[in-house]
């Protein structure tokens, strides 16, 4: 006769702003009845080593230390869940790196002789198999709890990546792109936030990362028609880590 043990979970951070760690910390009281918190160095000193059922990983891979840690996490975890834009897309550190090399940034900030070891900022799935990707900047607490609940039942969660526009329609928000000519990125950004910015009358700036099949060329065209400079538009579209391949078709169109 075996006593059923609580699943072991771990929460780890790579290079990021600790936002997801904070969201998880804030919702920990709801998880603790169902899981054993094996590791969470941000929040506690008594941490265990060894295999766990689920590891939630925040942050991008931006230095060799991050990569070593991620490889170890993958080896020791049944499920690896990438949480937050940094882990899923690479967030602002990757978005802006698409215009220049990581080395040039290092030299600009720390000087030419800097000994700091860096890697080009990258998402987790560029290095290891990731079982679940939950984006957001920060992640939505309800989505996080739903993902965890699914995994505790051994089900991979279903996460939609419909555009923010859909949530705007559901909330009956006036369209800030059409009516106020704001540079709203809602049409190409994944929902999950509840259309937060347009709901307050501001432009969505893309912090949840791209939606499914984002029409970057059409988005850029609309903004250009509204008087925004194309370089500015591309900067805005790439800020929160949307990968370069999403813009390939656009460059081809421009070249013709």
């Amino acid at each position: 006769m075996t006593v059923k043990r609580k699943p072991n979970i771990a929460v780890e951070g790579l290079t990021g702003c600790a936002g997801e760690l904070l969201v998880i910390l804030e919702n920990l009281d709801q998880l603790l009845p169902y899981v054993h918190l094996s590791r969470f160095p941000f929040a506690q000193s008594g941490n265990e080593s060894g295999p766990v059922d689920i590891t939630f990983v925040e942050g991008s891979v931006s230095q060799p230390h991050d990569l070593e840690k991620l490889l170890k996490i993958r080896k020791e975890s049944r499920y690896v869940v990438a949480v937050g834009n940094c882990a899923v897309w690479g967030c602002v550190q990757k978005g802006s790196c698409q215009n220049c090399s990581a080395r040039s940034m290092l030299e600009a900030v720390y000087g030419k002789d800097s000994q700091i070891e860096i890697l080009p900022p990258s998402a987790l799935d560029e290095h290891v198999k990731v079982d679940v990707k939950l984006s957001g900047c920060p992640i939505d607490a309800t989505q996080f709890l739903a993902v965890t609940a699914s995994l505790l039942k051994e089900q991979l969660p279903y996460i939609t990546h419909k555009p923010v526009c859909l949530e705007c329609k559901l909330h009956e928000n006036p369209c800030v792109l059409i009516e106020k000519n704001l540079p709203c990125l809602g049409p190409v950004t994944a929902a999950g936030c509840g259309a937060l910015c347009p709901g307050l009358g501001a432009a969505c700036y893309g912090c949840f990362g791209p939606c499914e099949e984002p029409q970057m060329a059409a988005m850029a065209l609309i903004l250009e028609e509204k008087g925004y400079d194309m370089l500015e538009v591309l900067n805005r579209l790439k800020t929160f880590g949307a990968p370069a391949e999403l813009f390939e078709r656009m460059t081809k169109v421009e070249q013709k």
């Binding site: 290079t15 702003c17 600790a18 550190q93 290092l106 910015c197 800020t239």
Partner: protein, 451 residues
């Protein structure tokens, strides 16, 4: 110490410090009983924000720079907004500033509550993990949960979400929460006033595990108005000088150190401290009655510079933040109700802010706010199209680094050989943690190696 004795090098290493925001380690090398070096190594991955923002438009600065750090994201957003508005020569209206201040106090409440209860207190309560903390110390755990939720609720009401706010922009909020949304905040603030006072009294009763840390000077922004506060455009030092924040490069120097990703600051060649202790040392006489009562019976009022008392300084600020937030919320509710009465009579909705909106233009300026951990500077140079051409950020934790190292040296000198190795390591961790260093989140067990 005899020179002919065999060299006995000793290394005290805190490999990775837990319960701080950031990956950081401490290395103390001791040779023949003398401290050879003290190194605080912040090995948090670098993200080059000063470079990332170049080429982006001014209106993107608040939301890009908020990603430097989640827990003080509101501070980064406001520092960016203030810097850009100053570059444009724009002064926000009074009510706008009250909304921003309330938002900022929400961050202070949330951040201080988390640091005091969840990060610092476990050292004194000797509790190793969250489950142990939650089950054996339910009162403290509940205090943390409730105060943190209060801070988060304020920031959500004004900023749109608990951190990385979306409602704050250069010039003005995109949407102003009215009395219907502010009233529940006011109720909650009033309900937690007593709880914050109790927490401060608990922290007041804790004894620091070392007698002294280094002598230091303190730097903080001179708060606007005549109350205790976190916004200003001039910095003051306990050494007797004050200066415009636009001159920050004159009084702060940042150097890159080979062993760390955090730049190291000094002020006119001296180590210094920013944060709650510095603010109280300079402006403690501006506290409201609740906080003043606790401050006056604390060793801080008597001039103690023991860094571990920074936990207490934060607890006092938490009390002050609630009292000030109550006043602001009441004011905003009254103003909003008065507006609604006028609207009822005239049938027209009028904008409360009568000044003309800002005009984007070429310029440069620094902007600063007092974050939970100290003064945060943002600096931008903007061209005539509104594009950022140069940027700089000086964070509180970087400013404190040099003093943290100096403090570690003093404590090791005082306690080496007198307390067990284990106790010394724990005490050093408590010391570093008291700074509430925000290097963004650390990992596993502290490893101590005595060679």
């Amino acid at each position: 110490m005899a020179d002919d004795e065999k060299s006995t090098k000793q290394v005290i290493q805190l490999a990775e410090i837990c319960r701080v925001e950031g990956h950081a380690a401490v290395d103390v090398t001791i040779d023949n009983g003398k401290i050879e070096s003290v190194k605080l190594n912040v090995f948090e991955g670098t993200r080059f924000f000063e470079r990332i923002v170049l080429g982006h438009k001014y209106d993107e600065m608040p939301h890009i720079t908020s990603r430097v750090c989640a827990i003080c994201s509101t501070g980064h957003v406001l520092a960016a907004i203030f810097a850009i508005e100053r570059a444009f020569g724009f002064e926000p209206c009074h009510r706008e500033l009250l909304y921003r201040e309330l938002m900022h106090l929400g961050m202070i409440i949330e951040s201080h509550a988390t640091h005091i209860c969840a990060l610092a207190l476990p050292d004194f309560l000797k509790t190793p993990d969250i489950l142990d903390f939650a089950t054996k110390h339910p009162v403290e755990f509940d205090t943390w949960t409730q105060l943190r939720k209060l801070g988060a609720a304020i920031q959500t009401t004004i900023g749109g979400r608990p951190f990385h706010p979306v409602n704050l922009h250069v010039g003005r909020l995109s949407s102003y929460p009215g009395s219907d949304k502010l009233t529940p905040i006011l109720t909650s603030l009033n309900n937690h006033r007593e709880m914050a006072i109790n927490l401060a009294n608990v922290v007041l009763s804790l004894k620091p595990p070392m007698d002294k840390t280094t002598e230091t000077s303190y730097l903080a922004l001179v708060p606007r108005g005549d109350h205790y506060g976190y916004f200003g455009s001039e910095v003051k030092s306990t050494d007797g000088w004050h200066c415009s924040i636009n001159e920050y490069k004159q009084y702060l120097s940042e150097v890159v150190v080979p062993y760390s990703h955090a730049k190291k600051s000094s002020s006119r060649g001296q180590t210094f401290m920013v944060g709650a202790m510095a603010r109280l040392a300079l402006f403690g006489d501006r506290l409201g009655e609740d906080a003043r009562a606790i401050y006056q019976k604390s060793p801080l009022a008597a001039g103690s510079k023991n860094t571990v008392l920074n936990n207490l300084a934060q607890a006092i600020e938490l009390v002050e933040a609630i009292q000030r937030a109550i006043r602001i919320t009441e004011t905003l509710i009254n103003l909003d109700n008065a507006d609604k009465m006028v609207e009822d009579v005239t049938g027209e909705h009028s904008d409360f802010c009568h000044q003309p909106p800002f005009v984007a233009r070429a310029g440069e300026s620094a902007g600063a706010v007092e974050c939970p951990r100290g003064t945060l500077y943002h600096y931008y140079k903007i061209d005539d199209k509104g594009t950022i051409t140069s940027a700089d950020m000086v964070t509180p934790s970087a400013q404190n680094t040099a003093r943290i190292e100096a403090d570690i040296r003093v404590v090791v000198e005082e306690q080496m050989g007198k307390v067990s190795e284990n106790e010394l390591t724990n005490n050093l961790e408590t010391l570093v943690r008291a700074y509430d260093p925000c290097n963004t989140c650390a990992t596993h067990m502290v490893q101590v190696k005595f060679k």
